[in-house]
Symmetry: D2
Subunit: 242 residues, 4 copies
């Protein structure tokens, strides 16, 4: 496909917030792999972070050493995240909510959110974000609310339809990617609703990242920490405006 | 300012989801007016919808007549919303959540979300969205989670830092824009945190809308209802991908 | 069953927040009917409010007339709600969230939340609440979070496992109670997860209401608007406490 | 006060989900101490768990050893939690949400939620729960939604008004319990809204625990894993019910 080459200078990073220490058991990873496969085919370089593979410190700190946890991989992971144009946070659902590991990842991203880029904007500006959710319980949209809000709040742009996932019918049952007994098929792999939304998300993230890269990042008037006060109507109250 | 002219072909619509029938009592409108004032100075044409000024039918329907409510202004409001490049939903907080009126507005937007544009994409593609929240109670980020999720889920793009608002300290007290007794000052108007975030949102929405307008909307491979299946890896399960 | 008679002095009210004007089309009502059937068999008197059968005013007001909407059924509905020991709010899911009608119902309950009972407690004290959710989309637990938080915040007690509902697999499909083609069976009626949770909720609400009724409501030291300051350690800061 | 003695056979446990390794810096602890002070004065035995003082494994497991994390204090903490009649989860707000540590605590509670008590009910039945929130950012009610939903979903009873907390005005500023410069006063300690809600929560938790203890736990018909099917109308669909 002709479009593929247009994306070969882009980098994406997927962070898997599974709470399983052994990543081979992660259902979420199956879903990540689908989106990554779409992006890689179009030329995007994909990095994968399975968060529990690393020691990650708690705390609103840049380096765990500041919070009594010297063995902290986050500064290295932060570098990989900032190297990417696209960030996708993927989470399992537990009690209807994002995992503790995903919550920890968001906190550590937040700890760097006061940093600035060379334009004086917050550091995540110029990047785009999305989310992927898996559960054998309900909660996909709740998790997407949480993740996408946080990403845009710290400076990521969210393209259209940047949430996707799979959940089964209410109640116990198989999880995404589980082998269906007596077959070589896997639960959810033929769910067109899921496949469609994963595809939409993957392409929309690529388009958005393309747009920002071509534009040299995000314009920097009206949205810098030091400069916002100088645009018109930023501070005066306009009580009689209407 | 030189930038102003760059935005004079853009249209924005602000929808105020206040539950007060009389809009002159709306604190949320004070905050809307600040963002609108910033955009108008840069040349954007701004439309205001005070939702409770209109009869809006309940129901997952395009026209209330389908749901036994023939007196429904939504089809006309929908047209005004689709005429705009930028949509900002503004809500007061009640019990920590978006207002019933804002919830109704979102439902009616959702009822049209299966429509498509001329590229075969969902109809809201090519537009950008943000949110504004006021309360004399806690709940700003919860409301932003709800609104921004919904907007992106139906096809709006969310630029960086597209949420803003004002809430007071926990407990009873004045609301945004209330006159401070014995002065001609208004509560919250000098809150730099609020002013900054309103300014960031206004400019980021303008930039995002500019970008989409210049690009002729959003590219249409991988994200159309009929075409998504044909991009690489959209449907095949890739069980051996990694 | 012997237990049945123990509940025959209790009253329950179910409020259906469907957005369909015609209640015969409400999937949520099917679920309500299941819980109501359980309670009625045990002797509980059940009242049903299908909210859209009534004109309900917007606004943080006790009577819509205060907000320019004189045709307001809420004062009459409020009386029916206060007459009941048990309140169950039932909602469909739209975009992962509670319906606008349920949001409106919560706002109007909230508008009375400053009222007090004869003990000086907030008026809803001494009552118990639960929630029921239906959707052919994901969002059950998100909706339960919203409803149960609001109910307890205004004074309802929430017994164990007071949330229940039904959602289908992610993606389009049948809704709860839809006839399954070629059969006389209805979607979800044989879902044991749903049936179990409805049963748990119904019985736990009855037990909690029984307990409060037998106790003459809720004790009134430490939780009255005028009296809380007088219990030990209510106001003094205890900086050296630990 | 006469009431005090009524509670001296009760036990409460407060779990502080702060992300600060050093608990002396925890603002949340100041708020916990207020509620604990109220309960202790009435005779309740109070246990404190500062979660980050312990190694707590990730995973939907009872013992971290099952998930490759042998150094797991949770089994011991779980015992302390089950020894208590009252559980209060306290969390700071980060990006409007509960902390990762609180999320981890909830996951580990959830991992035991399939256990049963001697009546055949889920193991947390017969206990009561509440929450406390601190932040110098908005998000109190959002966090309360999350925590209280989870507690009731696994079997805790939630008494009226079981949420409380403190947040400052939107924007940067002091946190709860910070010394106010040039004084010996601490931020938030004189906030009557906070003090009132803490007091209400503390007393309502004590009353609810009292009620359950006196009743010998929660009645066990209609809400046991093995028995629910046998109550009337639990499984049959009642299509003609109304």
């Amino acid at each position: 496909m002709q479009q593929a080459k247009k994306f070969d200078d882009l980098r994406a990073v997927f962070v898997n917030g599974s709470i399983k220490k052994d990543k081979t058991g992660s259902h979420t990873q199956h879903l990540i792999d689908k989106a990554a496969g779409i992006m890689e085919h179009e030329g995007v370089t994909v990095d994968h972070i399975y968060a529990l593979d690393y020691p990650i410190a708690f705390g609103m700190v840049k380096n765990g050493a500041e919070n009594g946890q010297p063995d902290d991989a986050w500064p290295m992971l932060q570098k990989r995240i900032l190297d990417a144009d696209i960030l996708v946070l993927a989470t399992p659902i537990w009690l209807g909510a994002i995992s503790s590991v995903t919550s920890l990842v968001i906190e550590r991203l937040y700890a760097y959110s006061g940093d600035r880029n060379e334009k004086g904007q917050y550091v995540y500006y110029g990047r785009v974000g999305g989310c992927m959710i898996t559960g054998n319980e309900d909660g996909m949209k709740h998790c997407a609310r949480d993740i996408l809000f946080c990403l845009q709040h710290i400076g990521y742009m969210i393209p259209p339809q940047a949430d996707c996932g799979w959940v089964g019918e209410a109640g116990p049952g198989q999880s995404y990617g589980d082998l269906i007994e007596g077959t070589d098929k896997r639960t959810g792999f033929d769910n067109d609703f899921t496949n469609r939304n994963v595809t939409f998300m993957a392409w929309n993230l690529m388009y958005a990242a393309r747009m920002l890269k071509d534009a040299g990042g995000w314009p920097a008037v009206g949205n810098t920490v030091d400069g916002w006060e100088h645009v018109a109507n930023a501070k005066d109250p306009n009580p009689e405006y209407r």
